[in-house]
């Protein structure tokens, strides 16, 4: 403990520096606990840190075994952080317009130092879809979706959808033929949205006399694309959703997800 200082003649300079540093007001205002060398201080470390407090204070020994968790949730989180960082860097060069989108992507490869940045983002995105799927698979196999964890399973399902949507919206941004036609095909699914898609079930019921309320210019697909086909409106909307909208939602849900792991009794034990 810091209060019980003993003068040790063999005390090194580094120890003295450490002791002085941990007594300064700046240090004490940041870290409101002593060195984590007891159960109490270790708990305080977790509870007094906004990032660590999402994490369980204690966990089962089996909970950290690789063969039990596969670390796929952790890998997904790591990939999300990596994608956020590389994506942020890509935003310094990429412009989401018909004129520049494709050439900016080419420039990111050809003209920008560390042209690998875009590939890291792309491969990281593919990897994240895989790790999220495997994480879900592991949680299913270990029965970790059962009470009291059914709420966290549902949050996870929503985050799986958000991961796929992030992948989908990012796919359009290179604005090459593959991107345009993939999104053309993919966004056509929104036509079949119940009631809100103009070819979906129930949409024909929403009409005033002969005037349809849901048509190709005001349905769910139109809201997604900002037009009746994949054009400049779609590129901008997908860009905004990809860079701001979806990451914001998934970040909030991740906080809930991690916190809920703690509240539900930590990582589930072996069956």
């Amino acid at each position: 403990m810091a209060e019980t200082k003993t003068i040790d003649p063999k005390e090194t300079a580094a120890t003295r520096l450490w002791n002085w540093l941990t007594e300064t007001q700046v240090w004490k205002s940041v870290f409101r606990h002593d060195r984590p060398d007891s159960d109490r201080t270790r708990v305080l470390v977790m509870l007094s840190n906004v990032f660590l407090h999402l994490h369980p204070v204690r966990m089962r020994k089996s909970g950290v075994k690789l063969r039990y968790t596969w670390c796929m949730g952790g890998m997904s989180f790591f990939l999300f952080l990596s994608l956020t960082l590389t994506g942020l860097l890509l935003m310094f060069y990429y412009r989401p317009t018909l004129e520049y989108a494709y050439t900016d992507i080419v420039a990111l490869r050809e003209h920008v130092p560390l042209g690998i940045m875009r590939e890291m983002h792309r491969w990281g995105a593919h990897a994240m879809v895989i790790t999220v799927m495997l994480h879900m698979f592991r949680v299913f196999l270990t029965g970790s979706y059962k009470p009291p964890r059914e709420f966290n399973w549902s949050v996870g399902v929503i985050m799986l959808v958000l991961t796929l949507l992030l992948s989908f919206t990012g796919y359009l941004l290179p604005w090459d033929q593959l991107a345009i036609w993939a999104i053309t095909v993919g966004s056509n699914m929104a036509r079949a949205t119940p009631f809100l898609g103009h070819e979906g079930p129930g949409a024909a019921l929403l009409r005033l006399g002969d005037v349809p309320l849901i048509h190709a210019y005001d349905d769910a697909r139109f809201a997604l694309l900002g037009g009746s086909f994949v054009g400049e409106g779609a590129l901008l909307r997908f860009y905004v959703l990809h860079c701001v909208g979806l990451p914001l939602v998934i970040a909030v849900l991740m906080a809930v997800h991690f916190w809920r792991v703690r509240k539900d009794g930590g990582i589930s034990g072996p069956l």
């Binding site: 036609w181 053309t184 095909v185 056509n188 210019y217 005001d218 139109f222 809201a223 900002g226 037009g227 009746s228 086909f229 054009g231 400049e232 409106g233």
Partner: protein, 243 residues
């Protein structure tokens, strides 16, 4: 009920507010009457010291309250709205404002002006077209204009306008003139120049658009009106322009 009676106990002189909410509380008008009519559900709730004091205070203030029943006393400082009614009003207003903001956000996603090619356009004069598939409007308006000596359905010579949207998943097929067919690059669907599908995953023929002669003699194509073969609509007079 106990919460309501506590202020009465501390401020015995204040008359009851003449609001509907106050009128809804039974004990106030009931208090001056002979004590023969205590409501059965009140009996269990009037046992606390505070409410007993409140009951006594109300009995003392009863004559003044009866006089002021019709109009509000000018010295009456009690609030017109109870705290509960005020909170209800505030939450109602907040909910309404939030719903309006949500609706406005949804409407915001649908612009009033759309920078897209019009659905209807004039495609030039009939004599500008030779026999076969014409690709000049494909890029801008998404339409092939085909001139045929003998239409599949109408058994006459003339024009029809094929929409360039593949009926499988919405890609744009290419016209392969050497093979006389439309071929979709996405999944390989193939269509005859009539629009009939014959290979690949496309479930139905290409759609035709309305084609008529405008007043000035030009071809007028209207993509808002579509004709589907499988619904027998290609026999419609506006699905094919005889000439």
């Amino acid at each position: 009920m106990a919460d309501d009676t506590k202020p009465e106990g501390t401020q015995p002189a204040s008359p009851a507010p003449a609001t509907p909410v106050a009128a809804a509380h039974a004990p106030r008008p009931a208090a001056p009457r002979p004590p023969a009519v205590p409501l059965p559900d009140l009996a269990g709730k009037t046992t606390t010291a505070a409410s007993l004091g409140g009951g006594a205070a109300k009995a003392a203030a009863a004559p003044a309250k009866a006089a002021a029943a019709a109009t509000r006393d000018p010295d009456d400082m009690s609030p017109l709205l109870t705290r509960r009614a005020w909170m209800g009003l505030a939450w109602g207003a907040f909910t309404a404002a939030s719903a309006a903001a949500l609706a406005a956000t949804g409407r915001f996603m649908f612009p009033n002006v759309l920078n897209e090619p019009p659905q209807q356009f004039k495609a030039g004069f009939p004599n500008e077209y030779g026999m076969g598939v014409d690709e000049r409007w494909k890029e801008k308006f998404g339409v092939w204009i085909v001139r045929t000596p003998d239409d599949l359905v109408q058994r006459a010579s003339g024009f029809y306008a094929l929409l360039v949207t593949c009926t499988h998943l919405g890609c744009t097929p290419n016209y392969l003139s050497a093979e006389g067919k439309f071929k979709c690059p996405c999944h390989g669907s193939g269509f005859r120049t009539t629009g009939i599908n014959f290979e690949g995953p496309a479930p139905r023929p290409l759609e035709r658009a309305r084609i008529v002669l405008a007043d000035d003699g030009q071809l007028l194509v209207d993509k808002a009106r579509k004709f589907q073969w499988e619904l027998g609509q290609w026999a419609d007079s506006e699905a094919f322009l005889r000439s």
